[in-house]
């Protein structure tokens, strides 16, 4: 086992990108992602990473430049957050439709307004449908591991889709903590150099980004849909392979103390480990509770989730984003709709927590558990619940 080292999680991600031998990086700094690209830029400047670092004037340009470098055949990385991701929005769809395996870290942060630099998931949930592979990580170790694995998944010939690794801004990105690095040899053996499916070549001109006429647009989308769903198999393979190399195995839906659980909390990102503490305490008090941690967000792990809730009577979904005027949080909507065909399906209640950097201690999950338990015994009084909001 490698020695644990102490490092700020942002820098651990930069190091992962360095070990993955990214060849092109185009990024624009935005809090709380800044440390990642700042460090990468110094690695490139110091000659510690042989890559082209493209300084751009906005995130719209950053992702556009990434499409360019990926089209030219380079292993491409970028990172952003919040308003930056929003500014990228239109190009994100194009990157996936054009099948460029760009890897991006999103340091999750609230979308304004009011202006907020703090953590929640509203940025990525607004980019839910961009057609990228998306995972969430819960600690520095996972941020490091997934930043390397993402390249292998995205670049696989049967995938060729861009991929986002979501890590919570500040409460994960800015924490100095202990983790194990993989060495360069291990990463090189795991991740061979990128062999691009297409390289721009003036001698063999092609057209990229052409019209999709009404006659073929839906067929194009169908192909994207099927490819993204099929990427699941490759994701599992890569995670397994990494597990064999490092002893750290990952699953699309992680289970924590779910054996015999009648009530399941469901979380994403780094609050999942906080919820574990609440589950420990509730279990110790005799409550039949367990925790599901949704790691893979796209492609949605339909079968894994349906299997995970087997035998549960109540699922409490904790969203870190609010679909204003909608059915609560985006995760709640999806989990409900995925579980509806399960017979008999558990009740699904939703809580919106931790918006805009609001602290979420383990006690919050315990309170949510007891509230939801009481609500589930009657007709729920609300479509969903905003936890901890005054007034």
């Amino acid at each position: 086992m490698a020695k644990r080292v102490g490092i700020e999680v942002s820098l651990a991600v930069s190091h992962a990108v360095q070990l993955a031998r990214a060849e092109a990086i185009a990024a624009y700094p935005i809090t709380p992602q800044t440390h990642i690209v700042e460090h990468l830029s110094s690695l490139v400047a110091n000659g510690d990473l042989e890559a082209e670092f493209i300084n751009v004037e906005s995130e719209h340009s950053a992702i556009s430049a990434c499409i360019g470098t990926s089209a030219a055949g380079a292993r491409t990385y970028t990172a952003t957050s919040s308003q930056g991701l929003a500014l990228m929005h239109e190009i994100l769809f194009i990157a996936s439709a054009m099948r460029f395996p760009i890897v991006m870290t999103v340091a999750n942060r609230a979308l304004s307004g009011p202006l907020s630099i703090w953590n929640d998931h509203s940025d990525i949930m607004a980019a839910r449908d961009i057609g990228w592979i998306q995972v969430f990580v819960q600690n520095g170790q996972e941020a490091f591991d997934h930043s390397i694995m993402a390249f292998k998944i995205a670049e696989h010939r049967r995938v060729l889709l861009p991929m986002i690794v979501n890590l919570d801004g500040f409460i994960l990105s800015h924490v100095v903590e202990a983790l194990e690095f993989a060495d360069q040899d291990t990463v090189d053996r795991f991740l061979p150099p990128y062999s691009p499916w297409h390289q721009l070549d003036p001698k063999k001109p092609v057209t990229m980004g052409a019209f999709g006429m009404p006659e073929v647009f839906a067929e194009f989308k169908m192909k994207h849909q099927v490819t993204l769903m099929n990427s699941y198999d490759q994701i599992m393979k890569v995670w397994q392979e990494w597990g064999q190399l490092t002893g750290r195995a990952y699953h699309p839906v992680e289970h924590y103390k779910t054996d015999g659980a009648k009530i399941l909390l469901l979380t994403m990102g780094c609050l999942s480990e906080v919820a574990e503490i609440a589950v420990d305490e509730l279990r110790a008090a005799g409550q039949p509770v367990g925790l599901l941690k949704l790691r893979l967000w796209r492609p949605f792990p339909f079968a894994a989730l349906r299997e995970a809730v087997y035998g549960a009577e109540l699922v409490i979904v904790c969203d870190r984003a609010l679909s204003v005027g909608g059915a609560g949080g985006p995760v709640l909507s999806e989990v409900r709709s995925v579980l509806y065909p399960v017979v008999p399906h558990p009740k699904v209640l939703g809580y919106v927590i931790g918006l805009g950097g609001r602290d979420v201690p383990p006690e919050a999950f315990k309170e949510i558990f007891f509230q939801a338990q009481a609500e589930a015994e009657q007709e729920p009084s609300e479509e969903f619940y905003m936890y901890g909001v005054r007034g």
Partner: protein, 185 residues
């Protein structure tokens, strides 16, 4: 698990302190988290920094609400932030001051275990500048024994390069000169 909160002012290096101590603890094979109170901090404004040290992987991702230890880099913060209001009963206050134990207890009403050091004086003498973050680590280690003094040497060298030796000297001087007095219920 030991939870330590640093009280400082923007620019005093409270965040650097918790990061260095986290790195030292991790080098000793422990687990640690060092992180700032996230926000648009301005120079001179009161800030917090947090440190958790444990023998196991740490799962918490929230601020430290009930610390075991508060380290106060600047006594003028006591009236503003009330650092001991939520300190555990058996907690420790570590304060940068030139007052005596009796004077400090009387002036600030501290009832917890108290560790004092005149970090301003040491920093001026050893570092030549009035930046007390690394100096105060010496007092913290003396009062808590949370890491070995020598474990700081490598993190200091990584962070400060040529300036590391002076910082380490100031830290060690503070370790020697810190006075600790048990709680007075």
């Amino acid at each position: 698990m030991l939870e330590i909160r640093f009280h400082g002012r923007g620019g005093q290096g409270a965040v650097t302190s918790v990061e260095l101590l986290a790195l030292a603890a991790i080098e000793e094979g422990k687990f640690a988290q060092g992180f700032p109170s996230f926000g648009p901090e301005r120079r001179g404004a009161p800030v917090l920094a947090f440190l958790r040290i444990d023998d196991h992987h740490i799962r918490l991702r929230c601020k430290i609400a009930q610390p075991d230890v508060v380290t106060i880099l600047d006594p003028s913060l006591i009236r503003i932030q009330k650092p001991t209001a939520d300190l555990k009963t058996n907690g420790i206050v570590i304060l940068n001051t030139n007052k005596s134990l009796a004077e400090a207890r009387q002036e600030y009403g501290f009832k917890h275990t108290l560790a004092l050091v005149d970090a301003n004086h040491i920093a001026r003498e050893v570092l030549g500048v009035l930046i007390v973050n690394t100096t105060m680590l010496g007092a913290l280690i003396r009062a808590t024994g949370v890491v070995k003094v020598d474990s700081l040497e490598h993190p200091l060298r990584e962070r400060f390069g040529a300036m590391a030796a002076k910082n380490f000297a100031a830290l060690k001087a503070a370790y020697e000169k810190t006075v600790v007095e048990e709680a007075r219920p």
